[in-house]
């Protein structure tokens, strides 16, 4: 077990180092770290001095080390466009993205699971076909189209929900939340659904196929033979078996939800990191791009690691196969 944990930790660190290397290359070579310190009329000597002060003449490995240490202390330099520390900008927007990601993951689970169970149990019923159809549309309609459609329907035509922004925000220390007010929830509903639809589809299909598979296994057949009630078989035996992979996937998807939030945040003008990242790409704001890259990778690796460890604690077989692989 310990060996497994160490192995996994080692891999996580390795992945993070690789990503930091990319982020560093982006920051150091694609961007120009001196950009926010010099103007057009800064003399060559002054420029050289600034480069020296910033350590840009040091050996590259030393610079990389410095970059990583700074990153570990949440120092990512200063945004070219906003003239503010990147860490501060990210900190301001981090809660918005995290809450959106969380809400959409919960939505995807709460809606996707029952749909998956149902279609797994009654694969031929009309409702199942409808669910299947919905799931297909869910993966076929691009996120931005879904967002536009929702805004058009529920904000403009019906006037039920706010069309943009994050409202009803309450400050809790350095965190801001929109979970505590009705206004906040109202503004969260459509972005969360838009972002979660794809994951919902994923979960529904996963649960469905897991259910189909489990229902065919011998022990379910035995359970049937023993005369257990169908509901007991379905929920106590079959569903339980599908839960672990489903929760694993949802956990892992949280990482990509954060990245996909770029689209949703743009459509709904949601003040999160994704919107900021997109603006950074359009205005070539390298420090923000590099920091965002590192942040998303870190989040992903952490989630990955947590799921991994939890999972191996639950199912000892993984540890063994983990060694073999």
């Amino acid at each position: 077990m310990l060996a497994f944990i160490i192995r996994r930790l080692g891999q996580a660190v390795l992945v993070l180092l690789t990503v930091s290397l990319i982020a560093f290359a982006l920051f150091r070579f694609v961007g120009d770290p001196t950009q926010q310190m010099v103007s057009q009329d800064t003399s060559v000597e002054e420029r050289m001095q600034i480069r020296k002060d910033l350590g840009l003449n040091d050996a590259i490995p030393i610079q990389f080390l410095r970059f990583v240490t700074n990153a570990a202390r949440f120092e990512f330099g200063i945004s070219y466009q906003n003239k503010q520390p990147v860490a501060k900008l990210i900190a301001e927007r981090f809660p918005a993205t995290m809450e959106l990601a969380l809400a959409s993951a919960v939505f995807a689970l709460l809606v996707g699971m029952p749909m998956g169970v149902y279609t797994g149990l009654y694969p031929t019923s009309i409702l199942s076909r409808l669910f299947q159809m919905i799931s297909l549309i869910g993966i076929s309609l691009p996120t931005f189209l879904i967002g536009i459609l929702l805004i058009f329907t529920f904000s403009v035509a019906l006037g039920w929900l706010p069309s943009f922004g994050r409202q009803g925000v309450v400050k809790l220390g350095s965190w801001t939340t929109s979970f505590l007010t009705i206004e906040g929830w109202r503004s969260l509903v459509m972005p969360a659904i838009t972002l979660g639809l794809f994951q919902m589809t994923l979960i529904m299909r996963l649960v469905r196929s897991e259910m189909l598979e489990v229902l065919r296994t011998d022990y379910i057949r035995f359970a049937r033979a023993r005369g257990l009630k169908p509901s007991a078989i379905h929920f106590r035996h079959a569903l339980k078996n599908t839960l672990i992979p489903v929760i694993t996937i949802t956990g892992l998807q949280l990482g990509s939800i954060i990245a996909f939030a770029i689209i949703t945040e743009t459509v709904f003008q949601w003040p999160g990191m994704g919107l900021m990242f997109l603006q950074a790409v359009q205005t070539v704001d390298i420090p923000i791009m590099s920091a965002y890259l590192l942040l998303v990778a870190t989040l992903y690796v952490l989630i990955n690691l947590a799921v991994d460890l939890l999972y191996s604690a639950v199912d000892p077989r993984i540890r063994i196969s983990g060694k073999v692989a």
Partner: protein, 324 residues
């Protein structure tokens, strides 16, 4: 079924149980695909629509009544015309025109063409990288395998959109916005290629590991065939079945990715519009009553992706013995 995080991630939205049995490839050619095809009218409809759309994209220059890419033929005075059946519409522009006088119908045909070409090249690149690395990893195993699979882990950290945005931003920073627009086609292709290869690599690796120990490979080795011959002549054909399934589903994803990037304003420019660009431009007119500028490209994109996905679904189900 064991789920490691990598496997879980590799599970594509519609591709849940990646078949890794060699028998599967055999099944691909032996199974009554045609039978299952003719059994489902939805699949047939999807195939018909896909074919129709692909053909009309391929032959866009022949079908389209106007050339939306040739700016010299645009006349501003034709701007914002409704579809032919509405008042003020004319046959010359069957689905109306946009603000610049560009024929919406022709733009859709050409836009779909660009979207499909980007998607096709992207998937091709992804498959090439993925199959190559998968074969190598599966055949050699050991450190090579471990390295490639860890690279896949790093890769999975970044969804396609993020990779594309990063590559796009980097190109802008390196060569300037003007030049990067000229390169945008390849930026999109490379982004898609780089973000979708992992699935192929995983699948091919799994199949190769199984094939590697089969008698025919041993026999091939015994008669002194080179490793590359064994890999490409003997192992590869046997893993092509699942690869085709992934490629089909990936094409749909690639088209969506391209559209999304163009919608976000970092894709193809309005003078060379893809479906996503058309939707982005059209979106500006959502509330002005000129619905045709956004609805038609939107519907086309949705129908195209839906049809390809339906085909992919059917292929997967038909090839997956467990679900039959």
């Amino acid at each position: 079924m064991q789920i490691t995080p990598e496997d879980a991630k590799a599970t594509s939205p519609s591709f849940n149980s990646a078949p890794s049995e060699a028998s599967l490839a055999v099944r691909f050619f032996d199974s009554d695909l045609w039978y299952s095809f003719t059994r489902s009218w939805l699949t047939m409809l999807a195939a018909a629509i896909t074919l129709l759309l692909i053909l009309s994209a391929v032959f866009a220059p022949l079908i389209a009544p106007n050339d939306p890419l040739n700016l010299q033929t645009l006349n501003l005075m034709d701007g914002s015309k409704p579809p032919f059946w509405s008042q003020g519409g004319e046959w010359k522009f069957p689905l109306g025109t946009d603000q610049q006088g560009r024929c919406v119908y022709s733009s859709i045909l050409y836009g779909m063409r660009i979207s499909l070409i980007v998607g096709f090249f992207g998937v091709l690149l992804a498959a090439t990288i993925g199959i190559g690395l998968g074969l190598v990893a599966g055949y050699y195993g050991g450190r090579v395998d471990a390295f490639i699979m860890r690279a896949a882990d790093v890769q999975l950290t970044f969804p396609a959109i993020l990779i594309a945005l990063l590559i796009d931003g980097t190109t802008r920073a390196l060569v300037g916005t003007a030049k990067s627009e000229a390169l945008i086609f390849w930026v999109l292709v490379i982004s898609i290629g780089l973000s979708f290869w992992v699935q192929y690599a995983r699948t091919v690796r799994g199949s190769t590991m199984v094939e590697r120990n089969k008698d025919y490979v041993h026999a091939a080795r015994l008669i002194g065939l080179s490793k590359s011959t064994i890999l490409f002549r003997h192992v590869l054909p046997n893993v092509m079945g699942p690869v085709m399934v992934i490629a089909t589903i990936n094409l749909a994803l690639a088209v969506i990715t391209e559209a999304t990037l163009s919608f976000l304003g970092v894709g193809l420019p309005p003078t060379e519009p893809s479906l996503g660009t058309l939707i982005r431009i059209g979106n500006e007119f959502l509330f002005s009553g000129e619905w045709w500028v956004v609805i038609f490209p939107g519907v086309t994109l949705a129908v195209l992706v839906l049809a390809v996905n339906l085909l992919g679904d059917w292929l997967r189900d038909a090839l997956n013995p467990k679900l039959q």
